[in-house]
Symmetry: C2
Subunit: 206 residues, 2 copies
Amino acid sequence: MKARGLIVAISGPSGVGKGTVLAKVEEIMEKADPGSVGHSISVTTRAPRGQEKDGVEYYFRTKEEFEQMIKDGRIVEYDQYVDNYYGTPSEPLVEMMDKGQDILFDITIEGSLALDRKFGDDAVTIFILPPSMEELENRLRGRGTETEEKITKRLEQAKAEIRRAGEFEYIITNDDLDKAAGEVLAIITAEKLKASKNIRTAKELE
Amino acid sequence: MKARGLIVAISGPSGVGKGTVLAKVEEIMEKADPGSVGHSISVTTRAPRGQEKDGVEYYFRTKEEFEQMIKDGRIVEYDQYVDNYYGTPSEPLVEMMDKGQDILFDITIEGSLALDRKFGDDAVTIFILPPSMEELENRLRGRGTETEEKITKRLEQAKAEIRRAGEFEYIITNDDLDKAAGEVLAIITAEKLKASKNIRTAKELE
């Protein structure tokens, strides 16, 4: 029987390389076991653009429907941008986990903590640190798209976020992509081996 | 700076292959980082045999000295066989962990739990299950050294031990040596990434 899937919520300051690490993790997981990674589709109140289809890029809902979903506890975490809501619906996550799929999230600190509160043992939270603040600054500058003012602001925000790393279950340092991806994979493997998740296997042997 | 070492306490029924899994884990760890595995030397009250030297095969102590060590809280766990004590002294473990060495134990259930009580976050407990009771029976028979009566007795004892798997932090199934060794290694990696052990790294970035 396939083990129940896990929600892997990863946060960290802008520029730390969360997206790259997660892409590498997904690549390795999909190579080892195709279809093992599920993808969360957000719910939004903004209008579809171009060829966007409901249930593909987003679930498109009215403001009233979205607010009802919040009230019903069907939205795990959400945010507002430019008058529109964007949120994570909980039911698709449960369905994917029931099928044994793991779901990787590159998400805000509040988003990670909300997933952890909602899913407990079925979620793991990981905070990614830069090797140093200098390195983070270099990476932000390396993008070449940010003004000096914006870089200063992002570094201040990074420090504020790093102060909250202790609210996560695991902390890793992204000084090497392969190492960081390997550490995320080790955490996923270990989490699934926790006794609370395998006590049934032991009971079946008796 | 090298991360603090970890005590890895592994228990499981006789015949489950704990020793083989641990040997494989140690081989991989030593290949990746020579000297990274420390070895616990037991204290005993039995007399040295042949060329045995104090501090090599065992620490040899008198019964009075051993009992004083117990009273002083310097013995983490111990057992008695044929009128002699055999125990694990705590100070060498602390010294090895301070140097960043991990210490692997193939140990009784009570021994694992005692190490966990004494060292808390610095110890991890893993219970190894057989793939099935039939497979365990085959392995015990495969040794070719046990009487029918002894095999029946060992299987009864195995069931009693498996009932206690839930007292461990992790449970793995030894259906494949490489997979089981990889899982132990993933657990060791993940344990060292726990936020409680890395909060200082985050603080140093601020």
